[in-house]
């Protein structure tokens, strides 16, 4: 039986009309953006509902055609049904959000309490002179709506904590740690462990960065920050350039893709460290 996620909004004859429309307008197994827009208008559906219908009909929205050599239509549909929470919409988070939206993750929760300031402009993808002063999660929602309107975004302007974390993350399939301080990272680790949600961790400082993926029950973050004494890392002295967040965020996005699809070998119980000054990559067992 074919599931039609949009069917609660459509009568049976309208579902049949939509199916016929999809079959008629498909080119091979690809469905173009132009016709996705037309379907949304004709059947009074959201772009997301049409995307669900396209994928349920085993068709691929044409925007994903360059994914198809590595992702099947079924896997693309699985990404579309997935919900990922990205905590932090700054250096790492901006790139993570961009990549997850273009990848086709269907539901993204963006969480950050901050707004853009001038010192963000050297590296934070969502920042520009025009967004100075703007709330970061609002810029995130706007950017995602612009690049992939099929993605449903929930923008939450808040600092995540053990108090609100359970409610904000409860329905996530994967959580991305893109925050800028160790205390929040450890809180996130505790919340994800309790909720049994995989956590993709990334951190940066100057030329350096690292990434790891933590499944429930693994104590990777407590090992990484075993000697943490309460302060900031070397990012306090070094700051962060434009490229380090892009490198580590891309590693995080790749890990999220693998976690959601259950493919490949995620960075479980190992920390991959990057030294971009000497171009040295070291894997640390955790």
């Amino acid at each position: 039986m074919t599931l039609w996620p949009c069917s609660p909004w459509l009568a049976v004859d309208e579902v049949e009309a939509l199916q016929a429309f999809l079959r008629e307008k498909a080119e091979g197994d690809l469905f173009s953006w132009q016709h996705q827009l037309a379907a949304a208008e004709r059947f009074a559906l959201s772009i997301a509902a049409v995307e669900a219908a396209i994928l349920a009909a085993d068709l691929l929205p044409a925007r994903y055609q360059r994914n198809r050599a590595m992702l099947s239509t079924q896997q693309q549909a699985r990404l579309f049904r997935s919900r990922v929470a990205v905590i932090g919409c700054g250096g790492l988070g901006g790139y993570v959000l961009e990549e997850l939206a273009r990848l086709g993750v269907g539901q993204i929760v963006a969480i950050d309490s901050d707004h853009f300031e001038e010192h963000n402009l050297n590296r934070q993808l969502l920042s520009s002179p025009g967004t100075l002063g703007q709330v970061k999660v609002a810029a995130a929602a706007q950017r995602i709506a612009e690049i992939n309107p099929a993605v449903t975004v929930r923008a939450v302007q808040a600092h995540i904590s053990r108090a609100n974390g359970r409610d904000l993350l409860a329905d996530a399939d994967c959580v991305v740690d893109a925050v800028d301080n160790v205390a929040t990272r450890l809180d996130l680790d505790a919340i994800c462990s309790e909720l049994k949600i995989p956590l993709v961790h990334g951190a940066i400082a100057g030329w350096y960065g690292h990434v790891a993926t933590v499944y429930p029950g693994e104590d990777s973050l407590r090992k990484i920050f075993r000697h943490w004494a309460g302060g900031k890392g070397i990012e306090q002295q070094l700051g962060n350039p434009s490229f380090t967040p892009a490198v580590i965020a891309s590693m995080e996005a790749a890990e999220v893709c693998k976690v959601l699809l259950g493919v490949g070998a995620p960075l479980r119980n190992r920390l991959l460290t990057f030294n971009l000054l000497d171009m040295e990559v070291v894997e640390i067992p955790l």
Binding site: G90, V182, A203, H210, A229, I234, E235, L238, T273
Partner: protein, 74 residues
């Protein structure tokens, strides 16, 4: 006794990448951290022979100590 000390990222600046160094028996990790003037509040991963250790871990002849700075930005 001889201990191989490997430093990473900013810990290398004005120090070294890797060195075989002589220490008296009974030396613990913390003493080497202090001798190298590495800021304790900026310590990240600390491993002896690829195992994570506390700072009071006593070193033995032939051990390899790896020290990474704390990286926490986003």
């Amino acid at each position: 006794m001889k201990v191989t000390v490997k430093l990473f990222a900013t810990f290398r600046v004005d120090r070294f990448d890797i060195e075989s160094r002589e220490y008296p028996d009974g030396t613990v990790v913390e003493q080497i951290v202090d001798e190298l003037e590495l800021p304790r509040e900026k310590l990240g991963i600390v491993m002896v022979n690829s195992r994570h250790v506390d700072l009071d871990r006593e070193l033995r002849d032939g051990d390899t100590l790896a020290l990474f700075p704390l990286v926490g930005g986003g």
